[in-house]
Symmetry: D2
């Protein structure tokens, strides 16, 4: 960390900062420029220094971190890509995983039918929500445990591993009985009670970026799970909130290659939430694969106009099938396969 | 709700939309313009229609809501301002409430000392965090239940009611044993498990706007609590995330008078998180009162440079005292008192 | 346009709105719902109604536009894609155009060398700035007319048409003497004096989206040029400003397929400004082609670390050559060619 | 400037960076931490180093500026507040200036009537647009020179100095014949041709923050004018673009006290554009004064519902009069006067 002192900082103010640094167990490297003095904080554990520690001291103008505030999630920790094995399906390898299924599990028949459709088209993981975070208390909130049972049944019949959302720490044991991957939604990326509970599980975690989360915050949230002992985390770009209202969210395509540079964890793309419009799902899915995503998650519904949630961004079975064909070509063009 | 059809929508597409509306129990009002047909959905329960229901149908261009998607939180529900009584301290009346105290409860002595300081300066509620949501897993996470006990002790000694954060549904009973007001932080504004649990409590809830939450989403989250049966909710503007990095957040001053127009719930301003810099806390607190806020929350620490969290935005006791004096003048200028 | 009246709007307030609509030459379609009255404005020229016309009237809650506020830029105006012919190079056809060259023209030798390099690698248009909009008055501001002359010389020697930026209406004649395409930068997207001047030219215009411009505003700015009589406009996604600071801008990949849906004009992608980091230029260029872009603009410099501007986002000749190879494969995968 | 090298940067990469720094005429201060080497760039002219100069070099992770990139606009340059004298009206003193008038000059009668109204209510400067930047080419574009003549006539009759917008460098001489203050609008904050032209004028310049401009960029744009020789610049907060759509813009109240800290130039607040709703103009104007603004600009129209532009955010004469009374009380509460 680097501490920039104000132009006219008093000697005793500089001294106080130096003392505070040493008191915390770090070494000091002082640099007196023509205009300002700069205090370098030397030590391998910069990520342990809390934000704001020095900003509050007299004479300090601002501070700058030299190292990333996360450790286990970083490329410094592992240069080799993490590959997560989900019941035989690798996530993070050259083979791109495709997670597909309805936004919500609506009934036994519906989830089984959709599971068969997406498997036939080439999907490798079945998605489906049983606990649904909804903006309105008046909206359908999910089938709960019954939804989980239907999902498990669809897994039995198709062999596809399943992923479903868990919304709170207390639901972790229940959801863990049924799911193969825990999904953490965008509204819970910084639900630290939940992240800590997942850090103690041994099933993989699919962690979505917050609605307006930075890439750094996403990796800090991953760090919560990793530092708890669960090293099977994949991170997901799902669109961020910007001033643009023509789409529901702005899919941050930059995040895909940048995450690949910053972390060894697999990177998933969610073009359905990233756009909010089914018409854009296919082009953005192709773009994400071209940019280096390790996996794609899409919403497929047998009859989107009657979906109980997120119909507007769900693909029909036919559109999903066409997309799978297109994705295979793009994957090949960038040296991968589906 | 209004459904705008595409310029060249087919008659059978329009018919399908009309049928779907009627199937849902609403009446239809059809308007054929020169360029487009518009389907009006008539019914008092527009807030029950889920987003995306019609967008997914063939021939539909977009839909527009006529009414707000919340009901109990709206001015339609109550034109009279809600005044919440917290152990004799009114929140939402012409008397502006001031909630002050440290970011975190750090020790018994520290919270008692701070409680005395803020009481003497004129604060009416004591704040202090025992469960802390921290971006980094390596940062101080709060004293937990012990912190709650210290807070309760400070209340005994000073008579100030206390407010403290609750981070998950499972902690609601424990926190409820000690606190007078449940605080929901910006990362939990859409933690629906938590909101539902708070809807069943009868102590007041202080609900912060999400880091990038819209005003509408804030009121929808309030609606979760209200529709659960707990009508004592106050909403808090605490700065939003924007592209500007010169301050930690952008305090959305517009939200203060706009919330007063949209809802009957008391509106609180948090200039500490809204700026992230103690230098800006006083001017923004004054601005918030001038704009119509019903209460102010500020962070006060006996020694901010040794604070365990948020030191950079905490006021010293002396600065807080000066602010209280200034706030009284501004309150009077806008016809209120402190 | 639809005008939503307040819940308790008085009959005379509704009457006043109806009169104002009719006074402006539109027909009225009145719809009285259970909660609110809605005034429909019927007429083909909705784009002529100014924002705010009705919001200011007593009893009005808000208004909603039914039609896009642009006309000539819309798909309603032309369902067929516009293909612009620049000295034999088509832009907007199945063949993807590649515009490459340095950020700034730095010297005669440098631009000629770069032109030869990019041509050999397969670029079809040469870019290079002579007038540079720089945030700092102390930064290099471009070679001006001399830069234009060097560019023209590079065109003579390589046969590549050239594109260069024009920063103000008064420079249009001068720049027009040399360039084949007028480039309007992100800071000038709403420089209406400039747009009006370009509307009277017959050379093509390359219009960048504003730094925080909406897709609608971009098309409104295109409308300024089109309505002036110049129908050869291409629009460019170049990244938008968001809260994320890990990259210089957030490349809005959604804008590529959405623009293709909303307008008949060619859509260009600029991954250099869209990311600000050369490491991300190649993956984002591939993503943009996968998502349907008609052309790509990239910055190539023989020695980026000595570039006078934008070195950090410029490709070396070698990296550009490799990118061209990769782009060809992705283009084929989506049924196009380079 | 501080250059942070990558964790595994090679010695020759560090050497190359050191050489480049020295080649540019700066001194080097090298600091080898446990994890990374840091290269300090020593020299008073850090603002002359272009962004991206070092980021592009091998082994460099990122760079951090120590000093602000502006100089003449900074508090380092002048600790004393600049007070601009406009025909006897001071701007930047303890007396708060109020600039009021219609968005557009619509006719001779209208501007004279409005001038009389605002003068009587206590305004000290008359505003009115003759050249209007409009999003749509189909909207009213202003009366042009005739509008300027009407403004000048209103000045004659009332004695109020006038402010009006100039949209391009070529219009500077014409506008300068009539106006007392040149106004630069939010879409032209980075129109460098215009800023350079204004740097050569000796009449004061009113510079609005860009629609999504940072505070730093605003001061950099001021620096263009100041470095051209015109030291009479005032900067204006007018709301920024964020994700929130409940208001037209988000008024960045934080910018008011922060600008006062960073610059000696007078700071103006524009609550009309900052909110877009007349209902919010009064509370936000009061908030801006409470937060330390030196001047307020508001839009007043004799009949807002028939305004040719921006009616929705214009005050009626009566509302303006009431606001002036309220503002006087708030100004007194913070030790100023109106």
């Amino acid at each position: 960390m680097i501490i920039v002192m104000k132009a006219h900082a008093e000697p005793q103010e500089i001294e106080a900062v130096v003392q505070r640094v040493e008191e915390m167990g770090y070494k000091v490297h002082l640099s007196r420029g023509e205009a300002r003095t700069i205090v370098g904080v030397i030590g391998a554990d910069e990520h342990l220094i809390q934000n704001g520690t020095f900003e509050v001291m007299e004479g300090v103008e601002r501070t700058l971190r030299v190292m990333q505030p996360y450790k286990l999630a970083s490329r410094d920790f592992s240069e080799v890509d993490t590959v997560i094995n989900v019941n035989g399906v690798p996530i993070g390898s050259t083979k791109i995983a495709v997670m597909a299924g309805p936004c919500s599990v609506e009934s036994r028949e519906m989830i089984i039918e959709t599971a068969r459709i997406v498997k036939e088209a080439g999907a490798t993981v079945l998605r489906g929500g049983a606990f649904k975070p909804r903006t309105s208390p008046y909206s359908f909130q999910g089938l709960g445990e019954q939804g989980l049972q239907f999902l498990a049944e669809a897994r039995e019949l198709t062999g596809l591993p399943v992923i479903t959302e868990v919304m709170s720490a207390e639901d972790v044991p229940l959801v863990g009985e049924y799911t193969d991957i825990f999904q953490v939604g965008a509204r819970n990326t910084q639900n630290y009670s939940l992240l800590k509970a997942l850090g103690k599980q041994n099933k993989p975690v699919f962690l979505k970026r917050g609605i307006s989360g930075t890439i750094q915050e996403l990796l800090m949230s991953a760090e919560y799970i990793l530092s708890g002992g669960n090293m099977n985390v994949m991170v997901c770009e799902r669109g961020i909130r910007t001033y643009e209202t023509a789409t529901r969210n702005t899919f941050d395509i930059n995040a895909v290659p940048l995450l690949k540079e910053l972390t060894h964890l697999p990177v998933v793309a969610d073009p359905a939430h990233g756009t909010g419009m089914w018409q854009l799902v296919a082009p953005i899915a192709k773009a994400a694969v071209a940019a280096g995503a390790d996996a794609i998650m899409v919403e497929v519904h047998p009859d989107p106009s009657h979906a109980w949630s997120d119909g507007a961004q769900s693909l029909t079975p036919e559109r999903f099938k066409r997309l799978m064909g297109d994705l295979r070509l793009v994957a090949q063009a960038v040296g991968r396969e589906i």
